[in-house]
């Protein structure tokens, strides 16, 4: 009986989520993940629905925003970037939301930009969402420790360089909670379908592709027993991977809080 009720409730939750055409993705955006030369790069933190450039949520002041730079065999260097963030307003196709930006000076190697946001209260779902997010920018082609965990409480560790994928390659990642793999983790995937316009802090009006049906807006896959997921990348551009609700009992301010982990990949066409 109890099991039935739980199943029914679970069903209700699934239905509730399913009615939303697209999911939340925390973005750390900069135009180029694989830079030829170092220099100053613009970085935008936006919490949005990327495929449809839809509703953009108000971000609070992040709890942490930092970079871990690794180059070759050198020891990792961590630098706090929280105080460099400036508040901006990001305009989606349907609204505008509070977001953040900064400029980061990148030299050679891997730069893992890491964000621990303030949990976001989602009234539609009646729970908080906290998406710890990582984007790895590489300068000059010299790798660092891109395949090592940074140590975020929830984290996707890439098993392929997120910045060197050709269109058609697979991307693999391992989902971790407190450094341990999360078996069978649910991973949502969205394509960044509307180009971010950095000068106006908004999305381009026209999308690159049209989804034939809602399933294609937000794709869902599951990790295996080791928390490893695999996804074939069908198109050049930015792809977001969000592993959801990795700690189901977690609460924030007495309410349920979905602890998620997000990573982004930028694929390029062979031409």
């Amino acid at each position: 009986m109890k099991t039935k009720l739980v199943s029914l409730l679970a069903g209700a939750v699934i239905l509730g989520s399913a009615t939303m055409a697209s999911a939340h993705f925390q973005m750390i955006y900069t135009p180029e993940m694989a830079m030829t030369k170092g220099g100053k790069i613009p970085v935008k933190l936006v919490f949005t629905h990327p495929f449809e450039a839809g509703h953009t949520m108000d971000m609070g002041k992040p709890e942490q925003f930092f970079v871990v730079r690794t180059r070759g065999e050198n020891a990792p260097k961590r630098k706090d970037l929280l105080d460099t963030l400036k508040p901006i307003t990001w305009t989606s196709l349907t609204n505008s939301g509070k977001a953040w930006d900064t400029v980061y000076q990148a030299r050679g190697g891997d730069h893992a930009l890491c964000l621990i946001p303030e949990p976001y209260w989602e009234p539609a779902d009646s729970f908080y969402i906290k998406q710890n997010t990582k984007v790895i920018v590489n300068v000059g082609g010299e790798p660092g420790a891109w395949n090592e965990p940074v140590g975020l409480p929830t984290e996707i560790v890439p098993l392929a360089k997120p910045y060197d994928r050709w269109t058609g390659n697979v991307f693999q990642g391992q989902v971790l909670l407190n450094g341990k793999p999360v078996p069978n983790a649910e991973v949502e995937i969205e394509f960044l379908n509307h180009k971010p316009l950095l000068d106006s802090n908004s999305f381009a009006k026209d999308g690159e592709v049209e989804a034939p049906q809602d399933s294609f807006v937000l794709q869902t896959i599951f990790a295996d027993e080791n928390g490893v997921f695999t996804f074939g990348i069908p198109r050049a551009g930015w792809w977001g991977f969000a592993a959801l609700d990795l700690d189901p009992d977690y609460q924030y301010k007495g309410k349920k809080c979905s602890r998620d982990a997000v990573i982004w990949v930028q694929a390029k066409d062979m031409k």
Binding site: G39, K40, G72, G108, G140
Partner: protein, 104 residues
């Protein structure tokens, strides 16, 4: 027998060194305080520590010579005139960085 083993070991060591080398990489940055820092490495992530660095005039005369430090970095005072940075990890593993392309 002993000799044979030594030869095999030497070959293995040699192979290991070669397979780690891959593409040499060197990027230089202007530190904004009249110094330049060059960062070296290889495309497989191996260290460039100890690699010879030369600062040359455009006609090839050597102004300064040194080595990449343990972090595969080499910092030098910014020359007044035109210059070229040479990263020299041996034949086929050299990189030339013109001074005028070095920015912050």
């Amino acid at each position: 027998m002993l000799l044979k083993t030594s030869v095999v070991t030497a070959t293995l060591l040699l192979t290991a060194t070669i397979s780690q080398a891959h593409t040499p990489l060197c990027s230089c940055f202007d530190n904004g305080d009249e110094t330049i820092t060059c960062e070296g490495g290889f495309s497989d992530g191996s260290s460039a520590s100890g690699v010879t660095m030369r600062i040359e005039t455009p006609d090839g005369s050597v102004q300064l010579e040194g080595k990449m430090n343990e972090d595969s970095e080499f910092t030098f005072d910014k020359p007044k005139g035109d210059y070229v940075v040479m990263f020299d990890a041996g034949e086929g593993h050299k990189i030339k960085v013109p001074g005028k392309e070095i920015v912050e």
